[in-house]
Amino acid sequence: MEETDWRFKIAHREAKIGVGLALFNFVWWFGFAYGMGSRPVEEYSYIFGLPDWFFYSCVLGFLVMAVLVIVIVHFFFTEVPFEEEEDSP
């Protein structure tokens, strides 16, 4: 039996976070764009002059993703050394 490199456990967790973020990003983007954008054009409202579906999906969506990435990287990502430790068993 050999043990999983401790750094790989961290790497695997962070890769899963990446997949989760991308899924969340897609749902947000898709939900607002096609949920609100499929109404007749006359019913659109406008935020800062932009159609509402676009503002929520693309402008707010981008800001939300940027904040999420900052928060997640700061609080959930761990620094690990990349070089091999010479004295590992």
Binding site: P51, F77, E85
Partner: protein
């Protein structure tokens, strides 16, 4: 000739030259030439890493073609372009630390080195080197043509002189400076893109009398421009969503991006790059494509999409500012070309020559060959771009999607799935490329199968092939962990 535009652009090129020269001096002092020339010695910091990824990825299509399409399609195309925000964090999170650790353990300098050590197979190496050389060479040539056309339209130089100016600028710093020069110039070019797009967006909004005014003009012309469905209402949700694979998550499989994910110094650089990359990608893509849409009421009736950005910049900005702003698409093209040039050259020198032709080459020979191959490739591309052959244009069509379908699973599953083996990798690459080319022709004849972009199905098929062949032939778990280390 338009000197007011030309002067700032030449100043920009001089700055780029200087960086290349500076990087080359650092290179001549280096003790490990191959790793330094092709990978910058794995010491990129967070900012440079983020910028080189954004700049490599943001090519002529995001700065000329994309906004041009947004001009005709309206907000629906900006929506599509925003699928690219995901690349800012996804690539580095997925390849991430495990890729960095494995690449160092394998002493990998190219993406193919990684595949070579992971799958231990000559066929995998040769097949990937072949795909990279053929597809990326064509992609690179297509970008050169775009770059030369841009210089031509801005300066009034002839196409051939424009191409020459463009070629010399790129060749000098890539050939002498290697990866470090490319990454550093990419960082400067990325910054130029960032500032350039913001200035232009503001200028266009002012010229259009404010966003509400512009949107009203669009509504009056054709209400579809303001919906997610495109000017003719034919952009379907399925089609737009499938771009999440082509320009979003699938980018993990692009060799020019993957090689950058092994070039950073430490995990702190990676963390910073994740944040900077996400913000910069989203900001540039949103701005650029909005400029395209907003340009429509300001400057109606532009027939050729690629000309929207140059024309709107010349229209709304004073000439010398336009010169600086238009250095942005120029920067985007140059930074894509330089990375591709170096990547194709590394496939030839490192992956083929050093692996199979002459493994014991002396450092002096390697140096001479690296400079020689990079320079020669550049000259061949230049000659081809003077009078582009049909085949080149044809191959370029497959460059992005084809390489994604070929490489995404061998890289990602090679990293995380222990059952992945060389049979799976070979089957996956072959399936990806063949089905991509086949489906491309099918879609040309019959319209998009299932209403999604060509890349979607080949990516799924190559996943199936990878899993099936890995489990059926030579099934064996891969050992990721080092048990002894002596």
């Amino acid at each position: 000739m338009n000197y007011a535009v030309l002067v700032p652009m030449i100043a920009f090129l001089l700055v780029i030259f200087f960086i290349g020269y500076w990087a080359s001096r650092k290179l001549s002092a280096s003790s490990n030439f191959i790793s330094d020339y092709f990978l910058g010695g794995r010491e990129l910091g967070g900012f440079v890493l983020a910028m080189t990824m954004v700049a490599t990825y943001g090519s002529a299509s995001s700065f000329l073609g994309g906004p041009g399409t947004a001009y005709t399609m309206g907000f629906g195309w900006v929506l599509l372009a925003m699928a690219q925000v995901v690349t800012g964090y996804f690539v580095l999170m997925i390849l991430g630390k495990k890729y960095a650790i494995m690449a160092r353990r394998y002493k990998a300098v190219t993406m193919i080195d990684f595949l070579k050590s992971r799958y231990d197979s000559t066929a995998v190496v040769l097949l990937s080197a072949f795909s990279i050389i053929v597809f990326l060479f064509s992609a690179m040539a297509a970008q050169w043509i775009g770059g030369a056309r841009l210089v031509e339209s801005l300066t009034g130089l002839s196409y051939n002189s424009a191409l020459f100016l463009f070629a010399v600028s790129v060749l000098v710093y890539v050939t002498i400076g290697g990866f470090r020069a490319v990454a550093l110039t990419d960082a400067v070019q990325g910054a130029v893109m960032l500032v350039g797009t913001l200035v232009l967006l503001i200028a266009v909004i002012i010229a259009g009398g404010g966003i509400p005014n512009i949107v009203n003009d669009l509504l009056a012309e054709n209400p579809n421009l303001v919906t997610p469905y495109g000017a003719n209402g034919d952009l379907t949700a399925a089609y737009v969503s499938s771009f999440w694979i082509l320009v979003g998550v699938g980018v993990v499989g692009l060799p020019q991006i993957a090689v950058r994910a092994m070039s950073y110094k430490n995990s702190r650089s990676m963390h910073r790059a994740l944040i900077i990359g996400t913000i910069v990608t989203g900001f540039i893509m949103l701005n650029m494509h909005l400029i395209g849409v907003f340009a429509r009421p300001v400057l109606p009736g532009i027939e050729i999409g690629d000309k929207v950005i140059p024309l709107i910049a010349l229209e709304t900005l004073p000439p010398w500012v336009a010169g600086i702003v238009l250095a942005a698409p120029m920067a985007a093209i140059m930074s894509t070309v330089d990375s591709l040039l170096l990547l194709v050259s590394s496939s030839i020198v490192k992956d083929v020559y050093l692996n199979y032709v002459k493994p014991d080459a002396a450092i002096k020979t390697i140096k001479r060959i690296s400079f020689g191959v990079t320079g020669t490739l550049g000259i061949i591309v230049f000659l081809l771009a003077l009078n582009p052959p049909e085949l080149l244009i044809f191959l370029n069509l497959f460059a992005f999607g084809g390489l994604e379908a070929a490489f995404i699973w061998p890289i990602v599953l090679g990293l995380y799935w222990k059952w992945g083996n060389k049979y799976g990798a070979i089957a996956s690459m072959a399936t990806g490329i063949v089905s991509y080319i086949g489906l491309h022709f099918y879609n040309l004849e019959n319209g998009n199968l299932f209403g999604v972009h060509t890349v979607t199905l080949p990516v799924l098929l190559s996943l199936v092939a990878f899993i099936a062949f890995s489990l059926l032939i030579g099934r064996k778990a891969y050992q990721y962990n080092i048990v002894t280390h002596k």
